[in-house]
Symmetry: C2
Subunit: 188 residues, 2 copies
């Protein structure tokens, strides 16, 4: 098995982080990897936000937590009420990929870019975890307005489609849950 496939199989969602920040040169490798994802008609219709400011991160995580607390979903409410729960798991970096609303498939393009970044990070020994709450927050008018008030410089007409936290894991690599491998059907 080659290194790339090993990285893919060993990437895990990490939910506890050390406080130390990712080195800038590793961050650059990660965001460059994101930009090499395929996009419909090669449009590259995206904008990447790297959020490392502790106050803004905390402000945003409180908004996301509030979203969970007021959700219709009982699991999300229970999660938000859990002792010490932090939406970003105290990770020092949040990456957001926003897509141009006028593009052909902006959502897909942004998600593809994010997977590249999760894998690039894993290959560099950096943990990550997809956090869908940021995208959820921007899905409501009120949440989108609150998000915009943070002043992250996302261009007009772009909407967050993928978000994930990054940092050095504070825990050993978790075991993967068993895969549902019966779900592949080959038609010859």
């Amino acid at each position: 098995m080659n290194e790339t496939i090993k990285t893919i199989l060993l990437r895990r969602s990490i939910r506890a982080y050390q406080p130390r920040q990712i080195e800038d040169e590793k961050l650059q490798e990660i965001t460059l990897a994101g930009q090499y994802a395929p996009t419909a008609m090669g449009q590259q219709p995206w904008h990447f936000t790297v959020l490392q400011n502790p106050d803004l991160l905390e402000n945003l995580q409180l908004q996301c937590k509030s979203l969970f607390l007021h959700s219709d979903n009982a699991d999300l409410r229970a999660l938000a009420l859990r002792e010490g729960y932090h939406v970003f798991y105290h990770a020092p970096t949040l990456l957001i990929v926003s897509g141009d609303c006028k593009a052909i498939t902006p959502l897909q393009d942004c998600v593809l870019a994010m997977e590249n970044m999760l894998l690039a990070a894993a290959s560099l020994g950096i943990g990550s975890c997809w956090v869908h709450s940021v995208v959820m927050l921007c899905g409501s008018d009120e949440g989108a307005a609150a998000f915009k008030s943070l002043g992250l410089g996302i261009p007009e007409g772009y909407v967050p489609h993928a978000a994930a936290v990054f940092g050095y894991s504070a825990i050993p690599l978790p075991e993967a849950e068993p895969r549902k491998t019966q779900r592949v059907n080959v038609v010859r």
Copy 2:
């Protein structure tokens, strides 16, 4: 730069294929890689179809081509009219990832899985190209019915969210288009 990041930066969308089929053991590595993508709440709400039957592939590509010919989009109509245009570029394998409509984020989960497979393929020297037309086809009632009539065994309640062709490239690795690297904003 490590092997994983090299693979990410060297993956290209390949639009010309050799007729020879992918080896089964490589196909298994590719679909396994797909199944190690992250999913919301670890649901793995997906089903993978590997379509290698030449008649069914041709039937499906004709349906997709017809979709382009009758599209409102002039670029798609022009593409379908191009001499020798083949929606799947004569690739011997089409992979479709379908998502469970009842899952939390089935579209995102399927797209993440597909990026893993595009990268795993690239790491094995196998070319690939995202083909959105299959997903487009299933977006209309008529197209979805025609697609269903192929009998690919996609479970009830699952919808195709990502499709790509795979095979050995018939051309040298294309140069990447320049990246729009000014699109990264770091907020410290």
